[in-house]
């Protein structure tokens, strides 16, 4: 049996992009901000696993409405296709956007895992999350898959995660391939 332990790099206060090696993980802590540059360089043919845990309490008085996205290259484009499915206590549905500005991670406050693939012909983020703080509507399961329909722009920086308002939490990004 092979046991693999990821080597951790703290990028919380990084000011320039760091190229993760396979088997390394980046740790980023954020506090009361709406925009979190990951400061991770990326190249063609790479694959990552992202964990995002909000530390904001899930109370009804501070629900944060709005979607949370990853903007590759720290840039907002407009050519992303997103498929979403979600389910809570009595609400369920699907959403499909054809010209979204970035990779969909989740919505409001949440705990999420996302898989990020960067290939010239196929750039996708698939995220699974549980939203909290929505009163009696729990657990609120949310799954989104986003394709970036651009095969010419190089994805060189993993990007920036943007919340609709200020949030706090921790992020771990592992490079798997």
């Amino acid at each position: 049996m092979i046991t693999r332990r990821f080597t951790r790099v703290d990028l919380t206060n990084a000011t320039e992009d760091y190229l993760l090696k396979v088997g390394e993980e980046a740790y980023i802590s954020f506090n009361n901000v709406s925009s979190i540059p990951l400061r991770i360089a990326t190249t063609n043919d790479t694959f990552y696993e992202l964990h995002l845990l909000n530390s904001n309490p899930g109370t009804n008085s501070n629900i944060l409405y709005g979607r949370v996205r990853l903007f590759p290259n720290n840039t907002v484009y407009d050519n992303f296709r997103v498929s979403v499915i979600y389910r809570s206590s009595d609400i369920h549905g699907t959403i499909y956007y054809t010209s979204d500005p970035g990779f969909s991670i989740s919505s409001s406050f949440f705990v999420a895992i996302a898989w990020i693939i960067n290939r010239k012909q196929y750039k996708n983020v698939r995220a699974v999350s549980n939203l909290y703080g929505w009163g009696e509507y729990y657990p609120l399961y949310w799954e989104a898959s986003t394709d970036w329909g651009d095969t010419t722009t190089e994805w060189a920086s993993l990007g920036t995660i943007v919340y609709p308002d200020r949030a706090s939490g921790e992020i771990i990004v592992r490079r798997l391939m």
């Binding site: 540059p37 290259n73 009595d90 549905g93 929505w134 609709p164």
Partner: protein
């Protein structure tokens, strides 16, 4: 937040969140926005959405959200309509079904009434703050009565 907007070689409007992310080959416009989605192209220029445009975008999203909530609330009793339609198609008496499912049909009517009132409230909102209050009602369903 501060963004740097430009149009790339593919003609796509791009909005860099960090100044250093702007490609050297383009000229970017520096803008102060609430969210990057507030930046729009306008006759070859790049500008920030007006308050009215932001309200219209928010209304569009709110109506979509309402539609999904209504759809979810109606879906569990859709089978009743199929039963009634099927009975009608076969020329059967539907009164026993109407009687058996009276509560569910009444709840469906209440959902539709609530939908109509929320839709009207969304469309009537004249500011984003007003619309936010309507959205709170939609999300919490505080104003929904199954009677």
């Amino acid at each position: 937040m501060r963004v740097w907007a430009y149009v790339n070689e593919q003609g796509t409007l791009c909005c860099a969140l960090l100044k250093e992310s702007v490609p050297a080959s383009v000229r970017a416009v520096e803008l102060e926005v609430e969210t990057p989605e507030d930046v729009v192209p306008d006759n070859g220029q790049i500008r920030v959405k007006t308050e009215q445009e932001k309200l219209e975008t928010m209304k569009r999203d709110a109506l979509m959200e309402l539609k999904m909530i209504i759809s979810s609330l109606l879906a569990p009793t859709d089978y009743i309509l199929l039963k009634i339609t099927e009975a009608q198609a076969l020329g059967e008496d539907i009164d026993p079904l109407l009687s058996r499912y009276a509560n569910e049909l009444s709840r469906r009517q209440a959902i539709r009434r609530w939908n109509a009132s929320m839709k009207a409230a969304i469309n009537a909102a004249s500011t984003r703050e007003e619309l936010q209050l309507v959205l709170e009602q939609v999300r919490t369903r505080l104003t929904f009565s199954s009677q």
